[in-house]
Amino acid sequence: MKEAFKIIVVLTVICLICAFFLSFVFSVAKEKIEMNAKRAIEEGISKLAPCAKRVEEIKLKDEVVYKLFDEQDNSVGYAFLAQGQGYQGKIKILAVVDSSLEKLEGIEVVESVETPGLGARITEALFMEQFKKLTVIPKIEYVKEEVEKDNQIMAITGATVTSKAVVNILNKRIEELREELKG
């Protein structure tokens, strides 16, 4: 009986000590992590919409959307975070759209674990440039050859799945925004 008792005591005590130690470390570092996340978003926004001076957070369902205002305090557009399933894992995109939700100011891929050299090329400026001043209505489309309409972008050769994922994630999020803001 002693053996079994010893097993139970040792494992549970070790777990408790680790739990306490971890939660203590986490609570110390929690603000810093949030601060980092906020700073990353602010940097992204300032890069995408230089004219935005003031940022106001609006809570929509469980996501946060940032309303942007320039010096004269009239709204310049919205910045939002959209994420979804890419080819290999999660893709997180920060995008800025004008206040009428028709044109994209630009996007920045914040986080992605796509295959290096192929899917990962969505994080390069070349791909993200295409989204500058891209019209969003009815919705963004991707093409394999050259672009005709102004709501189309060219997919990266060899990474069509990832490019399609980026387009779908943006379309879905903008659709949600349209109902929430218009409704």
């Binding site: 097993i7 040792v10 494992l11 070790i14 680790c18 470390v25 810093k32 980092n36 290096p116 050299g117």
Partner: protein, 206 residues
């Protein structure tokens, strides 16, 4: 006096063996998962190496301290929980202070928890030797792991991206070998590295 000197030599031997003779990746073939996955660039290699040293050092310390108390049935469970705790500390530390490294390492930082080196060293070494020796062994193994990762990372970065530590190395018309970044390239490069290591070991022996 003799034992002190003798034990000093033993200590030095324990430390040195991790760097070359019993190199964790190239000789013992432990800790391959992060070694192959993360080394798409030299920077990743170094940061993963540093994280492994930290975790290996502290887990060997804790394991060698409490090794007498742990009943054999729960030995693996307890060791892995301790290792997991230290890895989470490293993960939180990287997220707080170096967000871009934490993004670069991505899902592979937690995989140190199941990194065969750490449990391998704890199971085979720290649970059988005194504290100081296991710490030296941990440091040796950690440093060995790091330079192994750095070497692997730089080879793959030079061939795959044409740059080293972000600095352009190759002439512009060099089009990078994408395979070096893909999993297949990692296996091949490591295979040849292990072969080179065997060759060197052979020349030293005869």
């Amino acid at each position: 006096m003799a034992e002190i000197i003798e034990s000093k030599i033993k200590m030095k031997k324990e430390f040195i063996k991790g760097l070359w003779k019993e190199h964790p990746i190239l000789r013992q073939l432990l800790g391959m998962c992060p070694a192959l996955a993360v080394t798409t660039s030299a920077i990743n290699g170094i940061s993963m190496g540093l994280a492994v040293i930290f975790v290996l050092f502290f887990s060997s310390l804790v394991v060698s301290l409490i090794k007498k108390v742990i009943p054999p049935q729960v030995r693996i469970a307890v060791y892995t929980v301790i290792i997991a705790t230290f890895v989470t500390v490293v993960d939180i530390f990287f997220k707080a202070n170096f967000p871009q490294i934490s993004r670069a390492l991505g899902p592979y930082l937690p995989l140190i928890v199941v990194n065969c080196i750490i449990l391998g060293r704890c199971e085979a070494f720290a649970s059988k030797n005194s504290v100081l020796v296991s710490l030296l062994d941990a440091l040796g193994m950690g440093l060995g792991f790091m330079w192994g990762l750095f070497l692997l990372g730089s080879i793959r970065e030079i061939l795959g991206f044409g740059s080293l530590l972000g600095v352009k190395m190759m002439p512009p018309e060099y089009n990078p070998l994408i395979i070096m970044i893909l999993p297949a390239g990692a296996f091949l490069v490591l295979g040849f590295l292990v072969a080179v290591m065997n060759r060197l070991e052979l020349r030293i022996k005869d």
